[in-house]
């Protein structure tokens, strides 16, 4: 069982993700804006962070990811995106986009479970 933080401004996405991840035995905490999300990660130190790319402003998710990395948070980040491959904006994990994995919306429960499990396993092996 792992503690997972979801930061997304869409309550339905939070609810859907929580349902999927809870069913796999994880404990899910959530925030719906950048500031609360940042405090949530600092206070609760989750094992995985799920971030939406677009919140109030496009790329909000990227900025939060960069801020977290600057502050020394090494927790794996999974990013929700609705603009990736479908329209040819290919994101790649790297310095500019400091996230570990992407999940494209609409969220497929199986894909989400699988990617979360992979990231958590990698993180445990890394330690």
């Amino acid at each position: 069982m792992s503690l997972i933080a979801i930061i997304d401004d869409d309550p339905d996405i939070i609810e859907a993700s929580t349902l999927v991840l809870s069913s796999k035995g994880h404990k899910v905490i959530s925030a719906n804006n950048l500031e609360d999300g940042f405090s949530l990660v600092k206070d609760r130190n989750p094992e995985l962070i799920i971030l939406d790319v677009m919140m109030d402003e496009p790329d909000d998710g990227f900025f939060l990811a960069q801020r977290l990395r600057r502050e020394g948070v090494k927790t794996p980040i999974l990013m929700y995106t609705s603009v990736s491959k479908t329209i040819g904006f290919e994101y790649g994990a790297g310095e500019m986009v400091p996230v570990d994995e992407f999940v494209e919306k609409p969220i497929s429960p199986d894909q989400l479970s699988e990617k979360v499990a992979n990231l958590l396993r990698k993180n445990t092996e890394g330690k």
Partner: protein
């Protein structure tokens, strides 16, 4: 090296083209001038009773020969020099031509009567040309030089320090004139020269300014189009968010995360999912169009069209089988099926064409996909014996949100966005799209459609830094 080129024109190809075109035009004109000058000497001498002294004939013919020699040299140099604003370029060549021409003209005027030479009006002609080509200050300097040299010649001839070369036969007798005549002539000549330069410079300046404004406006329009596309992308994303959220929730229910569901509920939820998928497909297509318009990029990846077609046939075989449609893939001596482009976009375009074909071909129909080479293009034709397109509507099919009138009774859902997207993608690949109905394999009641897409094997690189070019005006100047 003195820069004769305004800053804005450094990368403006049309400016350089104009200068090169004008240079060539003057070179041709100068060859004609040589002939006219030789003609003037001989016709004047033998047909019009002009009396040229030997010195005059020699001088005039020498001048004609010099013009011919320097003009030939310029003609040869013109082909070798480029349009680099920092080195010797065609603008410098223009200045040299102008100075050589004015020297030749001054000598001609001197040997044909100076103050009484009928050729002195050509100074005005050169001032107009200079104003069109050279920077203002240079034309004023040249104008000043001509006025001083010409006045000096007149003065020194008046006081007898220089020999005069009148053409007898042009005047009744050697003309006696006093200093006042010379002064009035020089004043009028100077005034005329200056006024010509001022007016011509202003007109040329205004023309350039107008052209600049026009280019600015066109750039602004481009910028506005980009802003509009960004705005559309923003709005479409806003619409996409709730749809993706809804679909995520529907998926959860369908996969029993909230407990078991009854079969009728599952059937309806599956229908909800299909409709949401359709909307997302449409939304993603709109986003793709906006992105294409927003980023003016050229695609240079190798894309194997053969592979794409085979994949698309695999993807669509199930829906074709359901309607008992037979898909034939025909290749006619095609060795190379690789073009330059962007695979995901070309797949989307071809998938739209094939999808349409299956949608509007009736049960038991036939679809031929033909791959062929047509000169520099790889040609893909999707030919069916489906419902076809009414003749009057063929030209409208690429309009956004257009659906042909005979498709409306079909159950098949259609947004009318597909073909406009296909056309946009193909145009971005410098390709050609062509539609024919009847297709040639259909029957009277099912005329069928033939969609042919031609893609160039090699793409032209788009130069992003290139300035917008206005359509050049024709003619020598």
């Amino acid at each position: 090296m003195i820069s004769l080129v305004p800053k804005w024109a450094h990368n403006y190809d049309e400016f350089w083209n104009t200068i090169r075109r004008r240079n060539l035009w003057f070179i041709k004109l100068r060859y004609a001038a040589v002939l006219v000058l030789i003609g003037f000497v001989f016709v004047g001498q033998y047909l019009m009773d002009f009396y040229f002294t030997d010195q005059q004939v020699n001088a005039l013919l020498m001048i004609a020969l010099s013009i011919l020699i320097y003009n030939s040299l310029i003609h040869a140099i013109r082909l070798k020099i480029g349009c680099n604003p920092d080195s010797f370029n065609c603008m410098h060549l223009s200045l040299i031509q102008m100075l050589l021409d004015l020297t030749a003209l001054m000598l001609l005027v001197y040997y044909t009567g100076t103050i009484f030479s009928p050729l002195n009006v050509f100074f005005i002609f050169h001032m107009v040309i200079g104003s069109l080509i050279l920077p203002n200050y240079l034309v004023y300097v040249i104008c000043g030089l001509i006025i001083s040299i010409y006045s000096s010649l007149i003065y020194y001839q008046y006081i007898g320090a220089l020999e005069s070369h009148y053409i007898s036969g042009l005047y009744l007798s050697p003309i006696a004139h006093n200093l006042n005549y010379n002064i009035v002539f020089v004043l009028v000549f100077s005034f005329l020269m200056l006024m010509t330069v001022i007016l011509a410079n202003r007109i040329a300046g205004n023309l350039l300014k107008r052209e600049g404004q026009l280019r600015e406006m066109l750039d602004k329009l481009d910028e506005q189009e980009r802003t509009k596309q960004k705005h559309i992308m923003g709005i479409v994303h806003e619409i996409k968010s709730p749809i993706t959220a809804a679909e995520s929730l529907v998926d959860l229910i369908l996969q029993n995360y909230l407990g078991p569901i009854s079969e009728p509920v599952e059937t309806k939820l599956l229908r909800v999912r299909t409709r949401l998928d359709d909307s997302l497909y449409l939304i993603n297509n709109i986003l793709k169009i906006s992105k294409l318009r927003l980023l003016n990029e050229s695609f240079t990846n190798d894309v194997d069209i053969n592979t794409i077609i085979r994949k698309l046939i695999d993807d669509n075989i199930e829906s074709a089988n359901k309607k008992r449609i037979k898909i034939n893939f025909l290749q006619q001596n095609v060795e190379n099926t690789i073009v330059e482009g962007e695979a995901s976009l070309l797949e989307l375009a071809l998938s739209n064409v094939l999808g349409n074909s299956i949608k509007y071909t009736e049960t038991g129909g036939r679809i031929d996909i033909k791959l062929a080479i047509d000169q520099k293009y790889l040609s893909v034709s999707v030919v069916d014996d489906g419902i076809g397109i009414p003749e009057k509507e063929v030209s409208s099919i690429y309009k956004q949100f257009f659906r042909a009138s005979n498709t409306r009774r079909y159950e098949a859902e259609g947004s009318g966005l597909g073909l406009s997207l296909v056309k946009e993608i193909i145009q971005h690949h410098n390709g050609i799209i062509n539609v024919k109905s009847p297709s040639g394999i259909g029957a009277k009641e099912r005329p069928g459609t033939n969609m042919t897409i031609k893609l160039p094997f090699v793409q032209r690189e788009l130069d992003k830094n290139k300035q917008r070019v206005l359509t050049p005006l024709h003619g020598g100047l």
